[in-house]
């Protein structure tokens, strides 16, 4: 039983990481319709940023997070400016920015690998890995930290989209670009902001997961795929969907490994099969998009 409870914490932490990556996708996809597979590489950049700030320069943790967040804001904004805006302005086919971003994925990964070398680097955790027991649940400090940070981020995102005017304008752009523009919403600013915000969220995911897996130049791709899977499961229409999708994916992965009587090699196939079945049975995700209010 204690295994089960400990696994819940571990799966929740992993699920939050996946959810954050899914949120990064969502923040960009909703207003612009562009799917940026490069969110994984953004996570990698942030992980290395954290490595430099925390392991090399040894700044205090809060300051490091702030610096990395600022870095990711710049990276996101720059990515949009360089690879997306020229295409949108020129009326390119909708797939074009996705592909340009895929190219950027390769560029970023190579830059990281050339700049830092192929070896994985350590990123210290916020409060160490000591064991924390909260009632019946137990896990490492880092796991609870991840859950806490993700909760804050998702709560803020939800509040932003549900209760603030700026957030509503994002929704408006998502629903109908032309109408939104006609209502006076600055489309290019929304796009730039969505990329910047997506980069920060993806960066957070990288920074939170790196103490566990280390910062290495190949960490982006698996995160990108897992985040995308989470997005599909939860539904790409609501912020809560991203988190829900991430949690479901992590629980499915980890509980299958722990409890299903499947040999280890094949156990890897189980989440894949689940995903395929899920896609066939309910492709729109679990959470339906909100109906337009009068």
């Amino acid at each position: 039983m204690s295994d089960f409870l400990e696994l819940i914490v571990s799966a929740a932490a992993s699920g939050c990481v996946y959810g954050l990556v899914a949120l990064a996708y969502l923040l960009i996809t909703r207003p612009t319709g562009i799917i940026n597979f490069g969110v994984g590489e953004w996570a990698t950049v942030a992980a290395f940023g954290a490595y430099v700030a925390l392991s090399r320069v040894e700044l205090p943790y809060a300051l490091s997070i702030a610096l990395v967040a600022a870095l990711m804001l710049a990276v996101g904004w720059l990515t949009e400016r360089l690879t997306v805006r020229p295409l949108v302005v020129r009326g390119a086919p909708p797939l074009a920015p996705v592909l340009a971003l895929l190219g950027m994925l390769v560029v970023v990964r190579e830059l990281v690998s050339l700049g830092f070398g192929p070896d994985p680097q350590p990123v210290p955790p916020a409060f160490g890995f000591g064991r924390l027991e909260l009632g019946p649940l137990a896990g490492s400090y880092q796991s609870f930290f991840i859950i806490a940070v993700a909760a804050v981020v998702f709560a803020s995102a939800w509040y932003f989209f549900e209760r603030t005017l700026a957030g509503k304008s994002f929704e408006a752009v998502a629903l109908d670009r032309r109408a939104a523009a006609l209502m006076g919403i600055n489309l290019s600013r929304v796009t730039a902001l969505s990329f910047a915000a997506g980069a920060v969220v993806a960066g957070l995911a990288g920074l939170l997961v790196a103490p566990n897996v280390s910062a290495h130049y190949l960490m982006g791709m698996p995160l990108a795929i897992q985040g995308f899977t989470a997005l599909v499961i939860g539904g790409a229409s609501r912020v809560e969907g991203a988190l829900l999708g991430g949690l479901i994916l992590a629980v499915a992965e980890q509980f299958t490994v722990r409890y299903a009587p499947v040999p280890p090699g094949l156990a890897m196939g189980v989440p894949l099969v689940l995903l395929i079945v899920f896609l066939l049975v309910r492709p729109a995700g679990l959470l339906r998009p909100r109906e337009a209010r009068a």
């Binding site: 295994d3 400990e6 696994l7 571990s10 932490a13 992993s14 990481v17 996946y18 190579e110 690998s113 070398g117 192929p118 070896d119 994985p120 680097q121 350590p122 890995f129 064991r131 896990g139 490492s140 997961v209 566990n212 897996v213 280390s214 290495h216 190949l218 960490m219 791709m221 698996p222 995160l223 795929i225 897992q226 992590a250 992965e253 980890q254 509980f255 490994v257 722990r258 040999p263 280890p264 090699g265 156990a267 890897m268």
Partner: protein
Amino acid sequence: MKTALPRACCRAVLALAAATLAAAPAWAQPIRIGVITDKVGPAKPYAEPVTAGAVFAAKELNAQGGILGRPVELLIEDDQARPDISATAARKLVDAGVTFILSMSLTPSTQQVQTVTLETRTPQLTPSNSGDTLTTQIDNPYFWQTGPLGSTQIATLLAYAANKNFKRVALVGENSDLGQLTNRSFKAGLEKTGVQIVAEEMVPRGSTTADPQMQKVRAAKPEAIFLTGVTTPENVLILRSYRQLGLKMPVLGNFNLSVPQTAVVAKGLLDGVVFVDAFDPAKPQARRFIEAYKKENGVEPYNLNGYGYDGVMLVADAIKRAGGTDKEKVRAAMQATRGYVGVLGAAGSSYGFAEGKRTGFDPNGMVVRVYEGDKQGKVVFSGAQ
């Protein structure tokens, strides 16, 4: 008088010609050795330092006059860890006239190159790959492997642990090609000695935690855990879960735990972990290598550099004994290698290819060390007896 002058002239001319020929190294045909490495893919963390060791060896050889008076030229190709590109790169090297090909990239790449080296009868050596199947899957008399085999690693670990009498153990690894191969070698070695494997877990690459796998291990209550993973991020996950879940049984790891970067990333997780290594820094050859490498490159070398160095030196030795670059003679000379003491290997061990075998790493050539804190401790056991 009349005949003496022309004869003296003849002798002078002959002497001059002889002197010119003796000075030929400056204009001699270089000996080309091909190197296939990975510069951009997942094998890079291993391929890069191995190649650096090879480059250093070539430099050292040339500083001492080359092989048979001819300079050594390394032709380095990048296969991007893609086996089909590896095969193409091998053909390019063969066309460029290399005498030997060194494979430093992934195990499947090395294997794919074998189809080329078999077809073109070009000698090929992998100094670092440790997969046991490389010499068995294709019957290629032109291919040798001097990396520390998975079977050698487990034999060494088992010999070290013989007095502990493990009866029930767990195997934990990840799903890379080499990881799975190592897992299979370890499993075979354990089953041969009648040890029961109560848990066999695999952490997929890209996982964010190894908790579910380690929980299963904990539930199976093994007496020891054999670590067969070769990628550092997954090994860190495994070791972290091990600590988190309060596991206490001994951990015995494969030689990938000997790579120094592991200690940098897995800080605080390695104390007491047992691992096999091919590097005994106290060995005189190793000491000399460390000093010379440090002087040339400014950084201290580690075991991976040693593989590349030994690889080039073994090839050079074979070419010397063959007396030239004729591929058939080099092949015979390479197969005849016996008792070659390189940088790597326990004190008293040597490289050699026993009759008909093409794996050259001494079965007693590995050492066992234990992590003390984050530092790699001294050698505590040597060989596989």
